[in-house]
Structure formats: C-alpha cells, structure tokens
Symmetry: C2
Subunit: 304 residues, 2 copies
C-alpha cells in the first residue's frame, strides 16, 4: 500500500506572544508528510518549490522516509511564503503576508511510481489543483481525504463543491462547517456537508478537539489540554497527516478505526503546537507518541 | 447516606429562537434536585419560596422523592424570578429581569433530619448563604460540591473565596475559570483555582463538554452533539445534580468514579436542553438514561 500527500512545501514566518521566527520551513504538505512518516508511510509528496528552497529541507523530508520526486523545483521562481501573527488567546490570527509565488500556476505532476496509491491526502490548496491530482491518478485511491479552508469558500465555492463531491473524508473546522452548510448546529451542518459527497466529515474545533461524523454516527475526540500553545501553525495539517497515517498503516477504513485515526491525528497535532514550526514534529520518538496516546486514553476513558 | 441540595426554587420566564414561556418553575435548586432524584437520592432540599409559589410544584419535587422540609415558605413575600432571552447561537443570553424577592434575605434553615448528610450540593447562590449552610451542619459532609457564577466574582469576591476554600469540588464554566484565576489557559487556570482550596475542579464548556481536574490528572467529557438546543436554562445545574447524584449513589469519591460522575452530569444536562425549563427533566425513565449513557460511550470509545 502507498500514500500520496499533496500540499504546499513552503516558508512561514510566525509571530506569537511567545516570540517571532525568521523564515522557517512550513506548508501544509510539510506538516502532513512529517506526521504520516511516524506511521511508516514513506509518503509520496506532490508539491512545488522555488529555486530559493533549501535542499537541506528536502533532505529532511527524505530522512523521514518521504519520496520527493513529485516535488517540482522551479529554479527561477520563489517558494510560497506565508506570514502570520497570533493574538494573545492563540485562537485567532492575522495574516501579514501571502506570496503565492510558485503556487500561483501550480500544475501538479504525478510521477509514474506514485500511480496506484491506495491513500491520497489532499492538503489545503486551490480545489482546482486538488481535483487535478485526483484526475491524474490512473485509478481512484481506496480513500481520499481532503482538507480545505474558508478562503476557497469565499473565492471559488463552485470549484470547491466539485472537488468535495469526489472525496471520502472532508476535514474542516467548525467555522468552515457553518459557512459551508449555512447551519449553526454542527450536527445539522455535518448532515448537509455529507450530502455534498463525503461519506465522512471531520470537524476540527481547535482546543475543543474534533468531531467525526458518518451517517448517524458521531465520535468526539478531545484536544490535549495544554498549559501553553506555543504556535498553532500546522496543527490542522498535522492532524490530517496523523489521521491518514494511521488509516494507511492499518489498511482499515471502517468508522471504528477512523475513531482511532482521529485520536492519532490529535496526538500528532498536540506535539506540533509545543514549539515553533516543525521544531517538535521533526524529532519525535515512538516512545513520545506511545506516551501521548496513553494520555489521550486517560483523558477520555471512564467506566459506565 | 444522604444528600442535601441547596439552591433557588423559583420562577423563570424564557425566550429563545424556539419560543417563549410564561412564568415556569425553575431555579438551580429545582434542576439539581430533579437530576439527583434519578440516582435514588431522596435529596433533602434547602431553599426558600414566597407565598405565590404553587404547592403543586413542591408536590412535584416530593413525587421525585425530595424532602422539602428545608424549603421555607414566606407567605407574605414573592418567589425569586429570573427572565432571560437567548440569542440565535444559544451560547449567549441577556438577562431581562432579576427579582431577588425572598432570596434577598435568605437565611437557610437546616431541619434536624438533614443533619449528618454525607453529600452536600451547593447550587449557585450568594457565597455567604452557601457558607452559612456549611456552618449550620453539625458535622462536615464527606463531600461538598459548589456551583457559582461570575456575578459573585464581580460583586463579592472576598466572600466567594472564603466559601471556595471550604469545598471539595468547584463547578464553574470556562469564562468563570479564566476570570477567577486570571489565566487564559484552562490548565493553568485549574492549578490556580485548586490552590484556592478545592481538590477537584470541573470546568464546564457548554457545547464543548466539561473538564475534570485533580492534581495533575485531567478528564475530558464531551457534550452530546445535538441538532437543536431548545433551552439551555438549568443545564449547568442539572449537570451538577447528575454529578453528585452518581457519587452519592455509589459512595465512591475517587477521581476514577468522578470521571463517570461527570459523564452522568453530561447525560442529565443533555436532556434538560431538549425542552423548555424542566419539561424534559421531570419525565425521564431509567431506560432513557441508560440509552443516553450508551450514546456517550459510543461517542467517546476508541481502540488504542
């Protein structure tokens, strides 16, 4: 079995109440790829960077077992750059800079050895690009998971809906679920969103955890209560990576196993927010992960 | 073993996007008492009402097994009255009317057969009154649980802190935990609040569930995701009643059993919000409760 991860591999600059970074390595594709790597995925990455992107960062992904053949390098262009500033409550942020650069005309290439992948993780990108990836695969993967954001709902809703209709699992946050459905109640919102195509819906609620919906079934996963959220950047991408990483590892896409996958996503995301950028996510041991899983068990288990 | 419940037995008038009520029976003491009754508690109620309070409402409490000897009836005064209006998101509300009436000079009386109670549930009231109840018990109960609200933090913080120092479990919501501690992170807030006296802290998060803290341990309970929250009035009181009702029934005040008690509180609260006032909470069967507990198990259980 194999897994393709799609998403930006990019530069970020982050300000938070805890400090400020220079340009650091970020992007949805980076966080997703790193998270899946801890589930033995050897993820096949589809992305694009500019000539300014350091080779050492691509090596870092390779050291995590990633296949980077699908990362195009546009020598004469610049890498996607995003800069943001978090407010004191860490739940809201302002975007300071967005330079699309190489992403503006991103035409994804699927290397031959990526074909026949069983699992496809579409990180947040233009829904047209996400759809192109699906179309360029010679056979439909067993499971397609898609992340997106309100930005695409605002500027290209029709294209977004076309792509959403093609996927199995959609991952969005609570505000996005409300915007997409026009319903305040997340239970009602979930029904409307699943009627758009995805058989499964995950609604991320930040510090309040995540909800997984499938037909009339609901699973609620907490987030790990933390003293400090150092930098939330990439937490949602990491969640998606841990989620599909577990499904790919086990080969089981039942609702029951997706519950565990949501916990695995939450576990991985709980590491990402502990340091700036990928500083924590890059250096996890299996023991770190096992201990964190046990924390989630303790956090949620009760006798009835 | 026996259980004392303390709190207002009162009139409410509620407006929500779903409709509007006349004066209906409400009050923290009413919700708490009803919730505990489903755990075989025969709760001994301490409260005060005016001559305008219908005898049939006291009979209703008695029919749920409550001992109402501790409910003073001030024939020449009027019952406490609160009126509020919920906004479209049901998470915020405006208070339209608060008439303290008999609560203004409430001097709680503890009937002789209430003495030696093992469990004491102090519903939201002036912290001075809550403390008077503790002082008038001939021996300290095995467990004292206290609910309060931001109103008392605003107008009599010193008195509130004196009462908080005397209890075992404090129940407040997330905004109140932040206000009381001055900390945004709920983990940090919990540490500061527990340093004020209570060995256990429950932070209610409305639709996001509740967190139970004890030393370095945390338990996270979800709220039941609902299509409609019809009327949130009394949900927090019902939660507290279900919580202490389970502890009283089992006689086990360990952290492990408190986890289950938090779930039982959440189960009972999930009924209260389904109809206006106590319309749902008055008429539950054991089967209703068992089925709802099973829903919480399904909502949270995962294999790791």
């Amino acid at each position: 079995m194999s897994l393709i991860t799609v998403g930006s591999v990019a530069f970020d600059a982050i300000e938070s109440p805890y400090g400020k970074t220079d340009k650091i390595i970020g992007g949805a594709g980076t966080y997703i790829t790193l998270a899946t790597s801890y589930f033995g995925a050897n993820p096949k990455v589809v992305s694009v960077v500019g000539g300014d992107f350091p080779n050492v960062a691509l090596e870092m992904l390779k050291n995590h077992g990633a296949d980077v053949e699908g990362i195009q390098i546009k020598a004469d262009e610049k890498t996607f750059f995003w800069s943001g500033k978090y407010h004191n409550d860490m739940n809201s942020r302002d975007t300071l800079v967005t330079e699309l650069n190489v992403l503006e005309k991103f035409d994804p290439i699927i290397p031959r050895n990526y074909q026949d992948a069983d699992f496809l993780m579409l990180g947040n990108l233009a829904p047209t690009v996400q759809r192109t990836v699906i179309e360029r695969l010679s056979q439909r993967p067993k499971l397609i998971v898609m992340d997106t954001m309100n930005f695409w709902m605002d500027i290209m809703l029709d294209e977004l809906l076309k792509t959403i209709a093609l996927v199995d699992v959609l991952v969005i946050n609570d505000e996005e679920a409300r915007q997409l459905s026009g319903e305040y109640s997340l239970v009602r919102a979930a029904k409307k969103v699943m009627a758009m195509g995805p058989k499964f819906l995950i609604i991320k609620k930040g510090e309040h955890g995540a909800l997984l919906f499938h037909k009339d079934q609901i699973f609620s996963a907490p987030a790990l209560p933390l003293e400090e959220v150092f930098d939330p950047t990439g937490a949602g991408d990491t969640f998606a990576g841990g989620f599909i990483g577990h499904l790919h590892k086990t080969g089981d896409i039942s609702f029951e196993n997706m519950k565990t996958a949501v916990i695995m996503g939450s576990v991985m995301a709980s590491f990402t927010v502990e340091k700036f950028g990928t500083d924590r996510l890059q250096y996890l041991s299996q023991e770190d992960i096992d201990n964190r899983v046990e924390k989630f068990v303790q956090l949620t288990k009760f006798s009835s």
